[in-house]
């Protein structure tokens, strides 16, 4: 039922592959997609990935630098796949240990891995084991603990028969008879198959009665509290009980059943809460006059405050659970063993295991979080590094800490490296040769520096000889258009039109306030095309990612105008919020676009970089979440404060103690 199974080295050579019967498509495409999106983007904490209709599961063998990938149809749920990959891995390693241990790729190239038979055998075993288990069924009565208890008590009491006589009277008992009958039938069927249960067959009828007795007891207790029409019959079974067996004393129960009846207080409590709710709803009408005089203290924001507190508590609980999960494995080394372990770790080849890496990874995770990397991204990164290093053999005189730090550094640099070519000037030249303007759109939340950085980028572009049109699509914030006009005047005074053939090098396209931003953008682009401008910079209003109507408006602007570059402007001061902002922005752009290939965020502008010293974690969070490169870095408020990202320097600052 598997579509394919490949074993290839990390250097790219396929050692062995298997293609399921009837599968004609090559698996190279999906596996390449798996490598690019998961392994190279450091998301290998979770070991499954889906591509079109296929679901791929993989396992990294870090000792011999191999990757095992299995692919099957997404609609099938195969339970044996995880264990199957592990078995195949162990088998393959044991069988080809000699070839794999040799350094250099020659051994891999020259040897032929005839793994077919072993693979088929393992696959057959895995499939059979999954079939044999079958769907998990409920525990039979005999297998549960109750049966063992009642057998003992049955030997002492004599009141079991009477319980059965009273069985026919009440409805509840009839219902209990029915489900009681079914397990009996089920048990009889199973008794025929398994020999163990034959000895307990004789006790079935009696044990059933015990259950019925107990359930009747509980039912009666509940009924006693509420005013019900059957007081006469109910006390009977209760009074008959003490003769048969000792009354069990419940610590929380109390002697009288009235204490156990919560019905009245529950109803009253519910009513009380409802009344309070009504009162609170009537209050807002009265709040207009309550603002006069001194301001009320914070406590009085009753319902809103409570709701916020509850939400915060839930979030804290979730965070605590996450933190507890990640730090659950505490190494239990004694002091003596720890010393020897350290010595052992220094000399000789030792393979890394999860327990060895735990403490170091926890420390690194905390360090990253202290450097302003978002918490969930730090934990995902550490999981991915753990997966990459598990089973790897360390050389002599390298400690676990240094290996883990090195691997983490490599993966951070890899994340920050752009996955596509980033050269704006070249792309502008290309657009110019095609006689169309190059459109860049800036989006982001409020106050991150969109307009300031737009001015810096236009300064950089005019320094390189391009004509720029600024489209003022921020029609909401007071003073936005005037701000851009001031920038335009300053830029024109720095590069006067006389130098550029009598034509102003920067122009502003604006239509005042309150108009539709998408319409203004479309007109601006058409104007630029007519007047042969090289670049159009579209400034949008800042908006919070939760504000659905504004996000829809932004998505419409981008979908309608199809800009060449959609830049998300984010400030370097942001912490965990960065993840939420980017995810929601991308989601909004994807949801409201009509086409199959929606335009998502293409690049990130990281602003206010001069305000953080070495807490540069926001860069990592943003690139990890989107997979898009950081195109510009804003380091100040003058026109010259625009830089590009140097991945090594940022990672160096991040890993510095």
């Amino acid at each position: 039922m598997l579509d394919f199974f490949t074993i290839f080295s990390k250097g790219g050579i396929v050692l062995w592959c298997f293609q399921g019967t009837g599968v004609t498509e090559s698996f190279t495409g999906p596996v390449n997609a798996l490598i690019r999106s998961v392994i190279l983007q450091e998301r290998s904490g979770n070991n499954s990935y889906s591509h079109d209709a296929l679901s791929l599961k993989y396992k990294l063998d870090n000792e011999f630098e191999l990757v095992f990938v299995v692919g099957f149809q997404k609609i099938l749920t195969l339970t044996y796949v995880d264990k199957f990959i592990d078995d195949v891995q162990l088998h393959f390693r044991d069988r080809y240990k000699n070839e794999l241990e040799q350094k250099g790729a020659l051994a891999l190239l020259n040897s032929h891995f005839a793994f077919e038979d072993d693979f088929k055998m393992l696959l057959r075993e895995a499939e059979e084991s999954s079939k044999a288990r079958g769907p998990t069924s409920m525990r039979s009565f005999n297998a549960s603990l109750k049966s063992q208890k009642t057998v003992k008590s049955m030997i002492e009491t004599k009141g079991g028969d009477k319980g059965k006589e009273q069985g026919g009277k009440k409805n509840k008992n009839a219902k209990k008879e029915a489900p009681a009958a079914e397990p009996v039938k089920g048990e009889k069927a199973k008794a025929s198959t398994s020999a163990q249960k034959t000895e307990e067959n004789g006790n079935q009828g009696l044990t059933q009665e015990e259950i019925i007795q107990k359930k009747r007891e509980e039912f009666i207790r509940k009924r006693m509290g509420a005013p019900v029409e059957k007081p006469s019959k109910s006390p009977k079974p209760v009074k008959e009980k003490p003769k048969g067996k000792e009354k069990r004393v419940w610590t929380l129960g109390g002697s009288s059943t009235k204490e156990l009846d919560y019905s009245q207080s529950n109803g009253n409590g519910a009513h009380a809460a409802g009344d309070q709710g009504l009162d609170a709803q009537a209050d807002p009408g009265m709040q207009l006059s309550s603002m006069k005089g001194d301001l009320l203290a914070v406590d009085y924001e009753s319902s809103e405050g409570e709701e916020e507190e509850e939400e915060e508590e839930e979030e804290d609980a979730v965070e605590r659970v996450v933190v507890a999960d990640t730090s659950k494995k505490i190494p239990k080394k004694g002091a003596f063993g720890g010393m020897f372990g350290m010595l052992k770790g220094l000399v000789g080849s030792k393979s890394l295991s999860q327990e060895d890496m735990e403490p170091v990874l926890d420390k690194m995770r905390d360090h990253l979080i202290a450097k302003n990397v978002a918490a969930e991204i730090a934990s995902q990164l550490c999981d991915s590094v753990a997966k990459k290093l598990e089973g790897k053999v360390m050389g002599t005189f390298t400690t676990v800490a240094s290996t883990v730090k090195g691997a983490l550094q490599d993966s951070l640099v890899q994340i920050l490296q752009p996955k596509r070519r980033v050269d704006i000037l070249r792309d502008v030249l290309e657009a110019r040769s095609q006689r169309r303007p190059f459109v860049i759109t800036f989006c982001g939340v409020n106050g991150v520096g969109k307009s300031t950085n737009l001015a810096k980028i236009s300064f950089w572009l005019i320094e390189n000889g391009f004509t720029v049109l600024i489209a003022a699509c921020d029609t909401f914030r007071a003073g936005a258009v005037e701000q851009l006009r001031t920038h335009q005047r300053r830029l024109n005074s720095l590069h006067p039109p006389q130098d550029h053939g009598g034509r102003p090098i920067v122009q502003l396209y604006e239509k005042g306030y309150g108009k539709d931003a998408a319409g203004i953008a479309m007109e601006a682009i058409a104007y630029a095309r007519n007047q042969a401008f090289d670049v159009v910079l579209v400034d949008t209003a800042g908006r919070m990612q939760d504000n659905t109507p504004l996000m829809t408006a932004l998505a419409k602007l981008i979908a309608v105008n199809m800009p060449d570059l959609v830049l998300f402007v984010g400030e370097a001061l942001v912490g965990n919020e960065a993840v939420d902002q980017l995810v929601k922005f991308n989601q909004a752009l994807a949801d409201h676009s009509m086409s199959d290939k929606p335009r998502l965020i293409d690049g990130i502008v990281l602003t206010k970089f001069d305000t953080i010293d070495d807490k540069v974690g926001a860069a990592i969070s943003m690139t990890y979440i989107t997979g898009q490169p950081i195109v510009f870095v804003g380091t100040g408020q003058t026109y010259n404060d625009l830089r590009s990202l140097n991945a090594r320097a940022v990672v160096g600052a991040l890993m510095k103690a």
């Binding site: 250097g11 490598i35 190279l40 996955k419 320094e463 390189n464 510009f632």
Partner: protein, 272 residues
């Protein structure tokens, strides 16, 4: 009058020497008290330490021996398959490489020289790290280009080539460059001559845009090496290193079981 400052000066000099005097005398006495053999032992050990330090510095600062040929190129250009063909002649299915692979290669020439052939991953996020790691050991670079989709990728190819050529270590060591136009078995593949012309045009533009690119945030500017001659259009012949363009096909025109058409590549490698 003039003598007074002189006397004062002398007095001052004496005063300055005087505090040192007792220390010097004490030192001399301690040294004389010691066993002469012990003194000689100390002097010899100090000399050994000094010589070792000098020796180590000399060794470490020497240029690392260049004995490797790097296979570089964009993702999916066929480097790993070429690697396999050169070393063993066999066809192997390949996936995107995540790490480098290296193996010793025996060149097909009379001298029988052998050096190490290293296949670097081409994925954009891994490229810079691996080039950084291996560039100092390179005596030649084989830049593999996918000739079939070259038109679409020309800007990416040119940018990577520009990055390689303007690297400070590369421009210092001047390894020879072989541009292998791979995938010639596909009918739409461009010829080596055409690829050369297109690359020269692209590099010409890149010279301008790359030098105008923004500097990094810690102040380090981009590559300051200027390719080719100023004022004239860029041509590969203007470069200080030997550049050669050739065509090859790692897959081979006869399908997977046939031979690969890498004769010209092997010849060039033999000339190294």
């Amino acid at each position: 009058m003039a003598t007074e400052p002189g006397i004062n000066m002398e007095a001052k000099i004496d005063a300055r020497e005087n505090p040192f005097e007792p220390y010097l005398d004490a030192l001399k006495k301690v040294l004389e008290d010691q066993d002469p053999i012990f003194m000689i032992g100390i002097v010899v050990s100090l000399a050994v330490v000094v010589i070792t330090v000098v020796f180590l510095k000399y060794i470490l600062s020497r240029k690392t021996v260049q004995s490797a040929v790097l296979l570089v190129g964009l993702c999916d250009s066929g480097k790993t398959l070429l690697f396999s063909r050169l070393l063993s002649g066999k066809f192997k299915k390949t996936q995107t490489s995540i790490t480098d692979s290296s193996a010793p290669y025996k060149a097909k020439n009379e001298r029988g020289s052998s050096w190490i052939l290293i296949d670097l991953p081409g994925h954009d996020s891994l490229r810079p790290q691996y080039v950084e790691k291996f560039k100092s050991a390179a005596r030649a670079m084989v830049f593999v280009v996918d000739s079939a989709i070259f038109q679409k990728e020309v800007r990416d190819v040119a940018e990577f080539l520009y990055f390689l050529l303007t690297d400070s270590v590369v421009s210092r060591n001047v390894p020879s460059l072989i541009v292998a136009c791979n995938k010639q078995d596909i009918t739409m593949a461009k010829s080596a001559k055409l690829i050369r012309q297109q690359l020269e045009k692209e590099m010409n533009t890149l010279r301008v845009t790359r030098s105008a690119a923004l500097s990094a945030q810690d102040g380090s500017a981009g590559a300051s090496v200027h390719l080719g001659k100023k004022g004239k259009d860029f041509e590969f012949s203007q470069l200080p290193m030997k550049v050669e363009f050739l065509e090859c096909s790692a897959r081979g025109s006869k399908g997977e079981d046939g031979e690969a058409d890498i004769a010209s590549l092997e010849k060039s490698l033999a000339k190294l």
